[in-house]
Amino acid sequence: MSSPFLIVGQLKTGDTIPDFILTDHLGESIHIPSFKGKILLIDFWASWCAPCRRANKKLVGLHRDYGSANFEIVGISVDKDQTKWLKAIAKDQIEYTRLIDPHGFEAKSAIQFGVEALPASYLFDPTGKLIAINPTEQEIKQQLNHFKK
């Protein structure tokens, strides 16, 4: 039986971060591998996804407490409606990297990562290797402590 909770990722732990460019909320092109050297959390979400919006609150807190030269969060919205995305990032007070791939589940980045349900998050180490899919807040904190110099 298939389950909506199951994420059949095309990315597996140990894989290298995919190479792609997306646009941020200011219209700037952002090259994903440019975050190498930091622990990176990539979070796929959408404005209409209630569980994503709840998760955003936690991520905003995590970024406020831990965001530094060693840690970054990149939120990738798959909203087809850019206006709704911009409204949501303002409302959720997101200050970490805000990108959009406006094609729903057909978004190229979502397919590359193997996103089957939202939200979906991927944690990469500073060398760009995937260390966890859908990590809990505690797992992320553990990794941050682990890599702390």
Binding site: S2, S3, P4, C52, F105, V115, E116
Partner: protein, 174 residues
């Protein structure tokens, strides 16, 4: 038995005639423990049916709008099974059917591609062109709604029988 009488009798049972009614679209609201729109599973399951042309997700109404190919022989049950395979339930299913001058009335029944439709709580009228009908049967409405319907629709014997190939439908007011 007199064959002639039998033939006449058959001719005069309009209720079982094979009327021209084609399902063109189904609007499905799915329910479950998690957000149905946040999963790609339902979309994938529906799209994998060869009779499905496209699936459009209406985020304002949380509805999966399934466009079907011309001359398809899809039954509502096949669509329901796909939603369930994705790990969800059907909360409501409204199907768009195009009719060609079909005179319907309360308890009117017609057969189509191996299943039948029974009109409930329906006033006599002629259906021509696209019409939306809502399926009232178990598994096509929420459990709560079904409990209510099993009382209010108890006067329709086929509704209580619950044969899975009999669909009880109500014409939606446009």
């Amino acid at each position: 038995m007199n064959l002639k009488i039998l033939l006449i009798a058959i001719t005069f049972i309009p209720a079982l005639s094979n009327v021209n009614a084609q399902i063109s679209k189904a609007e499905i609201v799915a329910t479950g423990l998690t957000c149905s729109m946040c999963s790609n599973a339902i979309n994938k399951q529906l799209k994998s049916l060869t009779e499905v042309d496209s699936v459009v997700i209406d985020l304002n109404t949380n509805t999966f709008v399934v466009h079907l190919k011309k001359d398809n022989k899809v039954s509502p049950r096949i669509l329901k099974e796909r939603v369930e395979k994705a790990g969800f339930f059907v909360g409501s299913m409204i199907i768009n059917m195009s009719f060609e001058n079909v005179e319907v009335s309360d308890n009117y029944k017609f057969e189509k591609d191996g299943f039948s439709m029974v009109f409930v709580e329906t006033k006599a009228k002629t259906l021509d062109g696209e019409n939306k009908v809502k399926i009232m049967d178990k598994g096509f409405v929420t459990n709560k709604e079904f409990k209510k319907l099993s009382k209010s629709l108890s006067k329709y014997p086929t509704y209580i029988e619950g044969n899975e190939d009999d669909y009880h439908v109500k014409v939606m007011v446009p």
